[in-house]
């Protein structure tokens, strides 16, 4: 287990689709970080996004004050949906890390046949062009294997924590799941965490 640098300043951009649980995942990771003794500020936008729109949030670790990120500021982009990962790429600083679900949720225009969903290989290629490392994981599929599609978010959080880019590791996330999630959700989320770790090959 390598030592984690608690003073590491880090800015994370989350993006997903309304109803996916993006904000819940943000809050869980924020609590994990606070529990691990880090300075934390998180930001989110509520309202219209609930109705199937894009949901963005941010988490800044290590002593930042701003509850918001601009283009080029994020060290990590966490995408719960691949199209939204692509849309959110400008937020990533060159050389940052991308962790994304590879399971698409087509927007209405695509479902109605009025627009085309970008090719997944293209999304991965675009991410590689800007990121220092990028991982695409079938989160929804693994989440369902862990017990529910919703726990697919924890698959991604597990992969992120296992990657070593954060100032804390999987053990901190595991502890937070046990403290902050209701008992009935713990088992599937702990299972999802393991699957995320395994997907990373750690």
């Amino acid at each position: 287990m390598k030592a984690h640098d608690k003073q590491k300043r880090m800015r994370i951009y989350f993006t997903g689709v309304g109803g996916q649980g993006t904000l819940t995942a943000t809050t869980l990771l924020a609590r994990t970080a606070l529990q691990a003794g880090l300075d934390v500020v998180a930001g989110e936008v509520h309202g219209m996004a609930q109705r199937g729109g894009v949901v963005e949030s941010v988490l800044l670790l290590g002593g930042w004050r701003s509850p918001k990120l601009d283009f080029g500021e994020a060290d990590v982009l966490l995408g719960f949906e691949p199209l939204e990962t692509l849309r959110g790429l400008p937020y990533l600083r060159p050389g940052g890390a991308v962790f994304s679900s590879s399971d698409p949720l087509p927007p209405v225009s695509v479902a109605l046949g009025q627009a085309a969903y970008p090719d997944l290989a293209l999304i991965e290629e675009k991410a590689r062009q800007v990121a220092g490392q990028s991982r695409f994981i079938p989160c929804r599929e693994l989440g369902i294997r862990a017990g529910s599609a919703q726990s697919g978010n924890t698959v991604l959080l597990g992969a992120l924590c296992a990657s070593g880019v954060l100032p804390f590791g999987v053990d901190a996330l595991e502890a937070a799941i046990r403290i902050f999630l209701p008992p009935r959700l713990q088992e599937s989320n702990l299972q999802a965490l393991e699957l995320g770790k395994a997907a990373l090959g750690v």
Binding site: V41, A42, S66, P67, G72, E73, P94
Partner: protein, 618 residues
């Protein structure tokens, strides 16, 4: 929620809170008695958290029917000596402006704090007005927190001041502050404050002209007291540059801009390049504190989102006090529009401090990606009604929309919003449009918005013999902002504290004689009612009832055992897709399918295209 830390937490505990939750804790620590509100993003989590907590007899929470009423009820309670919090979004204060401007004259002995949650960037609003103007316009001391911790602290301080001066105090947040999460250190939770006994004093509390003339100087004197408090407030802090540098470059920042400034200075390693004045209690202006700061500077940059209020005040102050200092603020990058960011501030500082900017240009936005605009939910009753209206009226009618989820009816293929002004305007602006144009006008308004300010326009429409067909989209809740109660909500969901009001009785009571009530999911009856009203003159009201799909599922715990499926592919199915655009539909090549996880079983598609769809058990 008996063990919620907001009610159980004690001094020394630290919890991760939403800015709006921190305001709740601050009000509880201050000893609040009563909360009134009208919900609106980004303010809604404040009353909603009070509702969730229940309060255990500590306070009374009221969802008022609009912001004016909320402020008046709060003012009355504060006259009776209670400590009151009144919450609303920025545009709500326009509605509440009338009581605001006079209650500052009489003063409110119990102490009233007014939360206005502004929305720079229009994340969920029709404008991005800067309500700091109101603090100056009406004369209210104003606090602008920038962190969750400050949101709690400033709420408490605002209450302390409100009671000490007996003046209403403004707590002004923006979306980023209301919806940020950060660690908050708790203090003790005392019992609610003792109430201040009401002393009859018409010479103070009844502002006839003679009284008002006398009270205005009292207000000005109180604001001078507030200014002295601002001079020494712990929320207004001048910081020397790091490393004892003798720089004569200064930066003054207020509100959320303080965060971007701090992060930009740290990011550039520029802490020794400028002295900084952070203002958290921003009105009345701490003129002496600012003057002292200006004296130490040759040039000063003012950072504030929104209008150039602080900048102009600082400039005027320098002129008045004869301080020779160059003052800058708004320019082509830091404009009055939208939000600031760390990078934006960093770029400005790099120029201001004459340093290279470490912020790298970002990757360009990917062009032509399929959008993901917010949409009416699958199973939303508004979609069903809009389909029916479009079926009956097509492009013949002009559609006067209002504020709620149903504004999303502006999107194709429904396209049932031609104009919108503000809450309640579907009725009155619709009336005016019909009178001036002579065209048929159909207005749409939700139940909460109707009770908010649609009723007044409806009385006017009857009184002035306007021609308008008003469709009340009655989904039994305040859906857009998170299912808050309103008089249209069912009695069993309201509980003992509130009374359900029957929509049709209200509408008829307001003088409307042509009124019908239909189930929104009974397409035939909606179309029949619309057709029978179509060519009649005068005011006609159609009440289309059906619970909000999200509300039915989450709160009413209604499960829908059946879903739609495609029975026959072909033109009829595709036409239904094109006309209804239900998000549960998706296309696979030339074929249509229904996503069972999204379908809520409203069965509108079966009614539109009976041979193309059928119902099946989930």
């Amino acid at each position: 929620m008996g063990n919620d830390p907001l009610l159980r937490g004690v001094r020394g505990e630290r919890h991760l809170l939403l800015g709006n939750e921190a305001i709740v804790r601050g009000a509880l620590e201050a000893g609040v008695h009563m909360i009134t509100c009208y919900p609106g993003t980004p303010s809604s989590e404040v009353p909603d958290t009070f509702l969730r907590l229940g309060g255990e007899g500590r306070y009374r929470l009221e969802y008022s029917i609009n912001e004016k009423v909320a402020l008046e009820v709060g003012a009355g309670a504060a006259l009776a000596g209670a400590m009151c919090l009144v919450t609303m979004k920025h545009v709500g204060l326009n509605v509440a402006a009338d009581p605001l401007f006079t209650s500052v004259y009489t003063g409110l002995p119990g102490g009233l704090v007014l939360l206005t949650a502004d929305d720079p960037g229009c994340h969920s609003s029709q404008n991005e007005q800067d309500n700091r103007h109101y603090a100056r316009f009406a004369s209210l001391p104003c606090f602008e927190p920038a962190s969750a911790q400050e949101a709690k602290e400033m709420t408490r301080e605002a209450f302390r001041l409100a009671r000490e001066l007996q003046q209403p105090v403004m707590l002004r947040t923006t979306t980023r502050v209301s919806h940020m999460r950060g660690p908050v250190d708790f203090d003790d939770l005392p019992a609610p404050q003792p109430k201040v006994a009401f002393q009859r004093d018409p010479g103070r509390f009844v502002p006839v002209p003679a009284v008002a003339r006398k009270r205005h100087p009292a207000l000005l004197a109180n604001m001078e007291k507030a200014r002295q408090i601002a001079e020494n407030s712990r929320f207004n802090v001048a910081r020397e540059p790091a490393g004892g540098s003798a720089t004569r470059i200064g930066i003054i920042a207020s509100g959320v801009a303080r965060n971007y400034l701090a992060d930009a200075l740290a990011g550039g390693g520029w802490e020794d390049r400028a002295r900084v004045l952070e203002l958290g209690m921003t009105w009345p202006l701490p003129r002496d504190l600012i003057s002292d700061f200006l004296q130490k500077c040759d040039r000063v940059l003012v950072l504030e989102e929104g209008a150039d209020l602080l900048e102009e005040s600082v400039r005027a102050l320098a002129q008045r006090r004869g301080i020779n200092v160059r003052i800058e603020g708004k320019d082509e990058d830091l404009t009055e529009q939208g939000e600031y960011s760390t990078t934006l501030v960093m770029r400005r500082l790099a120029v201001w401090l004459n340093c290279p900017c470490p912020a790298k240009p970002a990757r360009p936005v990917e062009p032509d990606l399929p959008g993901r605009p917010p949409n009416l939910c699958a199973g939303c009753s508004h979609r069903a009604v809009y389909y029916a209206v479009r079926h009956v009226f097509g492009d013949e009618a002009i559609y006067s929309s209002d504020i709620g989820c149903y504004t999303l009816g502006l999107l194709p293929p429904l396209r049932v919003a031609d104009f919108l002004v503000c809450m309640g305007s579907s009725v009155s602006a619709g009336s005016g449009f019909a009178r001036a144009s002579g065209k048929p006008v159909v207005g749409f308004i939700g139940d909460s918005t109707f009770f908010h300010s649609g009723m007044t326009g409806l009385v006017n429409a009857v009184f002035n013999r306007h021609n308008l067909l008003l469709v009340i989209l009655d989904n039994g809740t305040t859906a857009m902002t998170g299912h808050q109660p309103n008089p249209g909500m069912q009695q069993d969901m309201l509980g003992a504290t509130s009374v359900h009001m029957d929509m049709e009785t209200v509408v008829r009571g307001l003088g409307v004689t042509e009124c019908a009530r239909v189930r929104a999911f009974n397409l035939k009856s909606v179309i029949r009612a619309l057709e029978s009203m179509k060519d009649k003159p005068g005011v006609r009201v159609l009440i289309a009832e059906e619970p909000c799909a999200l509300y039915a599922r989450r709160r009413l715990k209604k499960s829908q055992p059946r879903v739609a499926e495609v029975a026959r592919q072909g033109e009829e199915a595709l036409r239904c897709l094109e006309q209804l655009a239900c998000p549960a539909f998706y296309r696979r090549g030339d074929n249509l399918a229904v996503d069972e996880t999204l379908c809520s079983g409203c069965m509108i598609c079966l009614q539109i295209a009976p041979t193309a769809f059928k119902a099946k058990k989930r």
